[in-house]
């Protein structure tokens, strides 16, 4: 009790919690779950975008997309490292992903059907991710907060790049504009769902807010995202697929239509268009790569043994 109070006092004083600091088990668990989900999202998120690398329409776009997907792998790496400071190994986290026990962002369970989807993901999905992540740069857990600072910088570059793809399409030929509009139509609602259930239905929010793992509610972040994104879309002449979307002068933000929570829960529970394939792809990579990881380990051990034998011989 005294420990919990002291811990909360540190949090309230905006002190950073570091790996070797004592922390409540619930705090640790919440972080492990959240950082794990976040890491998995980066990893699974490589797949829908990776789907267009070999078909990117220009060399410049191909290079940018490669770099982006590589950054996502990098984010996964920092985040797994941050989670490792809490005592879970990358291997354990991977097993949880592949078994379906750990979640990842549901948005990646939608397919990337056209090139414009690459623009839409950068603009909307990375845009939504940033909204979620900027407050995390001030998260109470030090390693996570520091990882997020780096991640956020790169994400906002990706977001601009995605928006630039959409702008190019929206100002291109009629086919290109249609492609951009179609992508917006398909990705808009899933992007809004990225912020999670409405505040009333959110399971983990209260305690996370108290521990300063979270600093805004789902609905607050969603509203920020809508307010930031709608003018961007309108600026390039795209229409949002929501007849209820309109500026509310009074609240100084946009009103928007009701989210289809049935769809949200369906996808979360594994019945989105690509859930099965995403996990299958990761499982295949993991299983096909087992011999490589084993070989690397075996070689490192052989090397070490040889070094030691040489040392002994020299002594």
């Amino acid at each position: 009790e005294a420990f919990l109070a002291a811990f909360q006092a540190r949090i309230d004083a905006e002190e950073k919690i570091e790996p070797n600091d004592p922390m409540p088990e619930g705090y640790r668990k919440t972080l492990v779950r959240q950082i794990g989900q976040h890491a998995h999202s980066e990893i699974v998120g490589m797949l829908p975008e990776g789907n267009w690398i070999t078909r990117a329409p220009s060399l410049r776009r191909k290079a940018a997309l490669l770099a982006k997907v590589q950054d996502e792998g990098g984010h996964g790496l920092y985040l797994y490292s941050a989670a490792e400071t809490l005592g879970v190994s990358r291997e354990e986290m991977t097993e949880e992903l592949l078994s379906g026990k750990a979640k990842y962002s549901s948005i990646f369970n939608y397919p990337t059907q056209t090139w414009a989807d690459i623009g839409a993901i950068g603009w909307l999905v990375d845009g939504a991710a940033i909204m979620n992540q900027i407050p995390l740069c001030r998260c109470s857990y030090g390693p996570y907060a520091r990882a997020m600072i780096r991640v956020c910088k790169e994400e906002s570059f990706h977001q601009r790049q995605g928006y630039e793809i959409m702008m190019r399409l929206a100002r291109g030929t009629p086919e290109q504009k249609e492609m951009a509009q179609d992508a917006l139509n398909r990705w808009w609602w899933p992007s809004l769902m990225m912020f999670g259930p409405s505040d009333g239905d959110s399971q983990h929010s209260d305690q996370s807010m108290k521990w300063k793992i979270k600093r805004f509610t789902n609905d607050e972040l969603r509203q920020k995202f809508v307010d930031a994104t709608v003018p961007q879309g309108e600026f390039i002449g795209l229409t949002f697929p929501d007849p209820d979307l309109k500026w509310n002068e009074e609240k100084g933000g946009y009103d928007f239509g009701a989210i289809d929570w049935d769809e949200f829960w369906r996808v979360v529970k594994g019945h989105g268009p690509m859930n099965r394939e995403r996990i299958e792809a990761r499982r295949k990579a993991w299983e096909d790569g087992a011999w490589v990881r084993e070989a690397a380990l075996a070689h490192a051990e052989k090397r070490k043994a040889r070094r030691e034998a040489a040392k002994m011989a020299a002594e």
């Binding site: 797949l47 290079a63 490669l66 590589q70 086919e175 011999w291 490589v292 690397a296 075996a298």
Partner: protein, 261 residues
């Protein structure tokens, strides 16, 4: 359009373009293959390293296509050259287009190609063609990393587990017929060499062997000689895998011709 670049007076623009296209196609096609691993690598570190190398290759290809377009002087930009040719007009070496196979095959192929390119770029750093000397100076640093990275994997897998050794040996076997083509010389390479633009590939074999030899020794691998190497890539005679690669590569440019992305 940029003014026509000044090229070494002893060589025709056509010959220089032919040389540049070969090099550019090698990089584009191999970069494409490498990028197919994206999101499917055996470990996260390789999900970073492979796109990283692919990025280098695509970047080098872009520099070379841009320059080729200028030398050619027909106003084609990098994308028109990279994407809008027929299969028989691609002049990459056959090794670059081989399907990825397993990780051992991919890494060995990468190692071989880097072991060709390192001495090539090094020599081109003092090319009589300043544009190429500049491209080479940047590329040389990048490819030195490829040699380290891929070379380490050749060692690890060659001297790892029984399975990895078997797979690495199978890769050596499978790629053997495609090594000699890397060092082929013909009128184009000789003209380019005479003009001091780039060394003739045939002169690079000792440097290649000097890179590959120690790595193979450390990996416990033996070099496999083939009685007959495969050839034809430089004349646009390719295997059956390239057509499918091009169907993907060209998809957008062919489906939506002449648009800006």
């Amino acid at each position: 359009m940029a003014a026509a670049p000044s090229i070494a007076p002893s060589i025709s623009g056509e010959t220089l373009t032919a040389f540049l296209l070969r090099l550019a196609d090698d990089h584009l096609v191999l970069g494409h293959r490498l990028s197919e691993w994206c999101g499917h690598a055996p470990m996260l570190e390789e999900d970073l390293a492979m796109p990283n190398m692919a990025l280098d290759l695509i970047g080098q290809a872009r520099s070379l296509y841009q320059y080729a377009g200028e030398v050619e002087g027909k106003g084609r930009d990098e994308d028109q050259i990279a994407y809008v040719r027929r299969e028989r007009e691609y002049v990459n070496c056959l090794m670059a287009e081989r399907q990825n196979g397993d990780f051992a095959h991919t890494m060995l192929r990468q190692f071989y190609f880097a072991a060709l390119m390192l001495p090539l770029w090094q020599a081109m750093m003092t090319s009589t063609d300043e544009r190429l000397a500049g491209i080479a100076a940047k590329a040389e640093k990048e490819v030195a990393y490829h040699i380290r990275h891929a070379g380490e994997w050749v060692v690890r897998l060659g001297d790892g587990t029984e399975e990895s050794t078997r797979r690495m040996k199978a890769a050596v076997e499978a790629l053997a017929p495609y090594v000699d083509e890397l060092f082929e010389s013909d009128d184009v390479t000789r003209a380019v060499a005479e003009a001091g633009i780039a060394p003739d590939p045939s002169t690079l074999r000792p440097a290649f062997d000097a890179i590959v030899g120690p790595v193979f020794a450390e990996a416990g691998l033996e070099w496999v000689e083939t009685p007959y190497g495969q050839t034809g890539g430089r004349q646009g005679r390719h295997g059956e895998a390239l057509g499918f690669l091009l169907a993907e590569l060209q998809y957008m440019q062919r489906t939506y011709p002449g648009m800006t992305w």
